[in-house]
C-alpha cells in the first residue's frame, strides 16, 4: 500500500514546498509589528515575485527565510530546515542551500571578479580544482567569462550584478533569494537579469525575488505575493498584481 502511495506520488509529481510559513508573526523589540499571521507555501521550482511598498514587511519576510531574524510565533520551514527551533550553529548549513543576490551587489572591491565568485566556494570548503571549474562555469552562465580578471570598479552596474548572480549560483543552490536585484541597474539590464533568473529557474532552482518594478512583474508572468502592513494581501499566479 505504502509502495503504491509512493509511486502514485511520483506519478502525479506532488509539489513539495521549499518554503512554508504557518501562522508566522514577527514583532521587533521596538514594538513594530512587521509580519502578522502569515501563511504561505512556495513550492520547489517556482519563481515568485514579492512586492509591496516600503514598510510592508518584505525585508522581514526575507530575513526570516535566511534565519537572520526569528519569528515570535508560528513555524517556518525552508529547504527542510525548521527555522523556529533551529540552533544558531546550524544556520550556516541552511544558508549553504540558498544563493543570495543583493541590491547593492556586495562585491569585495579588493578582489577581482573570479575571486569574488570563488569566495563563496571557499566558504563551503571546496577544493582548488573544483573552485576553478565551477567559477568559470558560473561566470560563463552570466556572460562574464572574459571578465574574470577585472576588478569590480571596472565593471558597469549590470555587470557587477551579474557577478553577484554568478556568486549566488556557484554552489548550485536549491533556492535563490534576490533582494531587489534590479534596483541599481538600468531598465535594459533589469530585463536581462530577470531573464537570467528565469533561465536558472527553468533548470529547477526556486527563485524568490523582491522587487518594486511592476513592469518586470507584469512582463515576466510569474507568481506574485503582495505584502502590505505585514500581511499577505494578494497571492496571484501569472504576474497579476491587482
Amino acid at each position: 500500500m505504502e509502495q503504491l502511495l509512493n509511486s502514485s506520488e511520483q506519478f502525479f509529481q506532488v509539489e513539495k514546498p521549499i518554503i512554508e510559513f504557518r501562522g508566522v508573526s514577527k514583532t521587533y523589540p521596538s514594538g513594530t509589528h512587521a509580519l502578522e499571521d502569515v501563511n504561505i507555501k512556495i513550492n520547489n521550482g517556482e519563481f515568485v515575485f514579492v512586492v509591496g511598498s516600503s514598510g510592508a514587511g518584505k525585508s522581514t519576510f526575507m530575513k526570516l527565510i535566511m534565519r537572520e531574524e526569528k519569528a515570535n510565533t508560528g513555524k517556518i520551514i525552508v529547504n527542510g530546515f525548521e527555522l523556529t527551533s533551529m540552533k544558531r550553529r546550524d544556520v550556516p548549513m541552511l544558508r549553504r542551500t540558498m544563493g543570495i543576490v543583493f541590491q547593492d551587489f556586495r562585491l569585495i572591491p579588493t578582489m577581482n571578479v573570479f575571486d569574488n565568485v570563488a569566495f563563496a566556494m571557499h566558504v563551503v570548503g571546496a577544493s582548488g580544482r573544483n573552485v576553478r571549474r565551477e567559477v568559470s562555469r558560473a561566470l560563463s552562465k552570466v556572460g562574464l567569462g572574459n571578465k574574470a580578471r577585472s576588478m569590480p570598479a571596472q565593471l558597469s552596474g549590470g555587470e557587477q550584478q551579474r557577478v553577484g548572480l554568478a556568486r549566488a549560483l556557484v554552489n548550485s543552490p536549491d533556492l535563490i533569494i534576490a533582494d531587489e536585484p534590479t534596483g541599481n541597474v538600468d531598465p535594459n539590464m533589469s530585463y536581462e537579469i530577470v531573464s537570467m533568473l528565469t533561465e536558472i529557474n527553468k533548470l529547477g532552482t526556486t527563485v524568490l525575488m523582491v522587487t518594486h518594478d511592476h513592469n518586470l512583474v507584469r512582463d515576466f508572468q510569474h507568481r506574485v505575493i503582495m505584502l502590505d502592513g505585514g500581511k499577505i494581501v494578494a497571492d496571484n499566479a501569472g504576474g497579476d498584481i491587482g
Binding site: 525585508s59 537572520e68 544558508r95 543570495i100 556586495r106 569585495i108 563551503v124 570548503g125 554552489n171 533582494d179
Partner: protein, 342 residues
Amino acid sequence: MKLGSVKYLVGEGVKNTWVNRLMSLASVGVLVACMVVIGLALLISENVAKAIGALEQQNVVMVYMEDYNWALYSDKTDTSSDAAVSENGEEADANGIKSSDYTIHNDEEAKALCDKIAKLDNVASVTYVSSDEGLASVKESMLEGQEEYFDFLDEEYGNPMSCAAKVTMKDMSLFSETIDKIEQMEGVDVIQSQDDLAEKITAVKNGIYVAGIWIIAILMIIALVIVSNTIRVTMYNRKLEISIMKAVGATDSFIRIPFIVEGMLIGVISALIAEGLLYFCYRVATETIISTLGTTDIVKYGDMAWILLLVFLAIGIFAGIIGSVIIISKYLRKEGSEFAAI
C-alpha cells in the same frame, strides 16, 4: 575543517596583515614597546637575583662547637682544684678540664657534626674550620698590633677559638628555622649570623618578584587591548566581506580564523623585533656598565635569549588569539548582520 580550507584561511590572514599594514604596523610598534619593557623587567630581576645570590653566598653563618677550647673559656666549666677528680673517678688535666666538660673531643666528632648540619634541607654548604684555622683567620682580620692580644691568650691560657662549621644557606627566607634546627644539635655552642641581612635579602627578593609580576600583568593587558583594537578596526573595515561570508554560509570559525592568524602574525613579528631590539639595547647598556663600573658580574644576554624569545612569542601569540577571539565573538554575536550590516 578541510586542509584546503585551513590553507586558504591562513593565506587570507597573512594577506590581511599586509592589506591592513598601517594598523598592523601601529600594533607591532606598541607590542614591541610592551615586550621590550617586559624583557627589561626580566633582565633587571635576573641581574638583581644574581647579585642577591652572591650576597646570600657571602652571608656565612659560623656555628661554634663545644670543644676543649670552648671548655677552657667557658663559665660552665669548673676548673677549681676541688673538682680535679669527678664523681666517677675521671681525672682533670692541667687546666682542670675533664673529658665530660665538653662535647666535641676531636676532629672526627667535629666533622660528624658538620655532616649532620649539611644534611639539613636548607643548608647549601658546610666547611669545617679547625680552632687553629679559626685563630689564624681572626688574627688576619685584626688591625695591626691587635693580634698580639690573641697571641697572649693563646700562649697564656690556650687557643680562645673553638672549632666551627662555616654554613651557607640556600633560601634566606628559611633562615630562622634553619638556625633553630642547628642550635638544637648536641655540641653546638653559639651561632654567629646576620639575621637582619637575611631579612633584608628576603624582603628585596619578594619585592622584586611582586613588582615583576605586576609589570608583566599590566603590560600583558595593554598588549591584549592593543591587538584587540587592531582586530576591531580590521573587522569594521571588512564588514562587507563578513556579511557576504555569513550570507553564503560561512561558519563562525571560518570567519574567525583569518583574524586569529592576523593577530598571531602581529604577535610573532613583534616578538622577533622585540628580541633584536632588546639584544641591542642590553648590549649597549652592559658595555657601558662594564666600562664605567668595571664589574663583569652581569647576566649575559645569550643565557636569557631563548627564555626571552619564548616569553615574547607567548605574549604575542596569546594576545593575538585572545584579542581576536574576544572581539570577533562580540562582533559575530551582536553586529554581524547579513542583510542590514552595510
